[in-house]
C-alpha cells in the first residue's frame, strides 16, 4: 500500500486517487478535511473533476486514429526517403571534400618534395620504417621512404579530413535525427511552429494533386494548415475546392463555417454571410451557433442593420444558451439605441441566462 505522506503531495495525490476510484471511508474523510482546509486544492479538485465529466472517448475514435496513423505513416515514409537522399548527398559531399582535400594536399606535398633536397627527407625514413614495422609492414624499406613520406601524410590527412568532414556532416547524415530533441531539449520540437516543421506539406495553390487520390479530409486538413500559417488565399481556394469536389462530405459542410470566418477576417462579409447561411441551411450541426454568430457579424460589417438584428434574434431563438447569446443581446440593444426602426414589436428579444448575458 502507499505509504501515507504528509503535506500537499499526499493531499494532491489523494485528490487524484478520488478521481480514479472510490475512496475508502478513512481516505474520504481525509480528503474532505484537506479540501476544507486548502482552497487551492479545492479549486484544483473541482477543475480536475470538470475534466473527468467529459467523455474523451467518442464513437468513431478507432476510425479517426486509424486514419491519422495512416497519414502519419505516409508522412514519415516520405520523410525517411528525403532523409536517405540527404544522407546520400551528405556522404557524397563528404567524399568529394575529402578527395579534393587529399588531392590538394598531395599536390602541395609533391611540389614541396620536388623542391626539397633528398637529405632533408632522409631523417624521416627510420621513423617511417619503425611505424611500418609496428603496423606489420616490415617490407617497407628505406628505399621507399620518400614515397612513403609523401603518401603517408597525404593519406593521413585525407583520413583526418574525412573524419572531420564526417564529424561536421554528422548531424546532416541524419538530419531528422539531429533535429530530434534530446530529453532536456524536448520542448523545442513542440514549440516549433508550423512554419518551422509543418505537419503537412505546403499546400498547393489548388487542391488538385498528381496522384488524384485526394480526399475531403485531406483538403480540409490542408486548408486548415494553410489557414494556420496565414496563407489565407490558399486556404480559401482549398475550401472552395473541397466544396466543389466533395459537396456531400461532412468536411465540406464544416468548411463553410471555416471559409465564412476566413472571408470575414479578410473583409468580405457578403461572401462570408453566404457561407454561414449555407451551413445553417443544412440543419442542426456542431457549429450552428458559430455560424449564426458569423452571420450576424457579417451583416454588422455590411452595415445592414435590419438583417443584422434579425440574425441576432434568430441566434437567440435557436441558441439561447450559447456563449454567443450575450453578445447578440448587447448588439440588439446597441442597434435599438441607435434608433433602428425595428419591424418587430418591443420586447421581441428572448430573455436568457444572465451568465450568458455578461
Amino acid at each position: 500500500m502507499t505509504e501515507k505522506r504528509s503535506g500537499h503531495e499526499y493531499d494532491e495525490d489523494l485528490a487524484v486517487l478520488a478521481r480514479r476510484q472510490p475512496l475508502v471511508d478513512a481516505e474520504r474523510s481525509e480528503l474532505e478535511a484537506a479540501l476544507a482546509a486548502d482552497p487551492t486544492l479545492r479549486i484544483a479538485h473541482e477543475v480536475g473533476r470538470a475534466f473527468d465529466d467529459v467523455a474523451f472517448v467518442r464513437p468513431g475514435d478507432e476510425a479517426l486514429i486509424a486514419r491519422v496513423v495512416d497519414r502519419t505513416h505516409r508522412s514519415e515514409s516520405r520523410a525517411v526517403v528525403a532523409r536517405r537522399w540527404r544522407s546520400a548527398a551528405a556522404v557524397a559531399a563528404t567524399l568529394l571534400l575529402a578527395a579534393g582535400g587529399a588531392g590538394a594536399y598531395r599536390a602541395g606535398i609533391a611540389l614541396r618534395v620536388r623542391r626539397t633536397p633528398a637529405h632533408d627527407i632522409a631523417p624521416t625514413a627510420p621513423r617511417l620504417q619503425a611505424r611500418a614495422g609496428m603496423n606489420g609492414h616490415a617490407e617497407a624499406s628505406a628505399s621507399v621512404a620518400p614515397a612513403a613520406a609523401v603518401a603517408s601524410p597525404a593519406t593521413q590527412s585525407a583520413t583526418q579530413l574525412k573524419e572531420q568532414a564526417m564529424a561536421w556532416t554528422g548531424p546532416h547524415l541524419g538530419s531528422t535525427r539531429a533535429t530530434r530533441p534530446s530529453p532536456s531539449a524536448r520542448p523545442a520540437f513542440a514549440t516549433a511552429g508550423p512554419s518551422e516543421q509543418p505537419p503537412t506539406p505546403t499546400p498547393p495553390a489548388t487542391a488538385s494533386t498528381p496522384d488524384g487520390d485526394v480526399t475531403a479530409a485531406d483538403l480540409f486538413r490542408r486548408a486548415g494548415a494553410a489557414r494556420r500559417t496565414g496563407a489565407l488565399a490558399t486556404a480559401s481556394a482549398l475550401y472552395e475546392d473541397l466544396q466543389a469536389r466533395f459537396p456531400a462530405a461532412e468536411e465540406a459542410r464544416l468548411s463553410h463555417v471555416s471559409l465564412g470566418k476566413l472571408l470575414l477576417e479578410t473583409g468580405r462579409p457578403q461572401e462570408a454571410e453566404h457561407h454561414f447561411a449555407i451551413y445553417l441551411a443544412g440543419g442542426p450541426g456542431a457549429l450552428a451557433a458559430e455560424a449564426a454568430f458569423g452571420r450576424g457579424e457579417s451583416f454588422e460589417r455590411m452595415g445592414r442593420a435590419r438583417e443584422e438584428r434579425q440574425a441576432w434574434l434568430e441566434l437567440l431563438r435557436d441558441f439561447p444558451e450559447s456563449v454567443y447569446a450575450g453578445p447578440a443581446r448587447r448588439r440588439i440593444t446597441a442597434l435599438d439605441d441607435s434608433g433602428l426602426d425595428s419591424p418587430n414589436p418591443p420586447g421581441d428579444v428572448p430573455a436568457g441566462d444572465s451568465a450568458n448575458s455578461r
Partner: protein
Amino acid sequence: MLRLVRSPDAGAEPAGARAREQADPLRAVATRAVAGDDRARCTLLVALGPVLLRAVRGVLGVRHPDVEDVLQESMLALCSALDSFRGDCQTSHFACRVAIQTAMNGRRRAARRQRTTPSVPPEELAEMAHDELSPAELLAAARRREVLRGLLDDLPAAQAEVLALHTMLGHSVAETAAITGVPINTARSRLRAGLGALRERAGADATLAEAVRGEP
C-alpha cells in the same frame, strides 16, 4: 584489499527485463519502432492513439476542429522524439507528454488566430445534450475546463505541462515527475506555482469563486 562485490542487477537481468516489460508493455514495440520497424511503429501509434487523443482533447476541447490535425502532429512529434526516449517512464506517459506539449502549442496557435476566445467553446456546448448533469452544472464544468485551458496558454511551459498532466489528466505528483523527467520536488513546486495561478484566475470565475470561498 580487493573484495568481490555482486552487482544487485547481476544475474537478474532477464527478470528485470520481464518486470520492465510487465510495467511497460509498449516498451518492446517502441524499441522495434525506433530500430526502423514500420509495422511496430504503426502498432505503437495505434496503441497510443487513445492516450494521445485524450491529451489532445483535454487541452483543445473535445470537439475542437483542430483535434485531428493536432493528433497527427502529436504522432509525428512522437515518432521524432521516440529515439530519445530512455525508458525513464512508461511509453504511454512519454506519449502523453508529447501530446500535451503539441496540443498546448496548437492551442496557442489557435488563440493567436482568434482574437477573442469564447468562455466556453461552442463545440463543448454541443456535448452537453449527451450528459446526465444539469445544464447549469455542465456549463459550470465547461467554464472550469476553459479556465484551466486559458491558464495553460499563459503559464510558463514547464508549469503548464505539470498542471495539465496532474490536474487535467489526473496523474499523481510522482507520475508527473517521472513523465517530465524532473525530481518529485521540482514537479511539486511547479505544480504549486501552477495551482497558485489557477487560484488567482479562479477568482474571476463565478463558479470557481464559490470553491475558493469554500461554498459547495
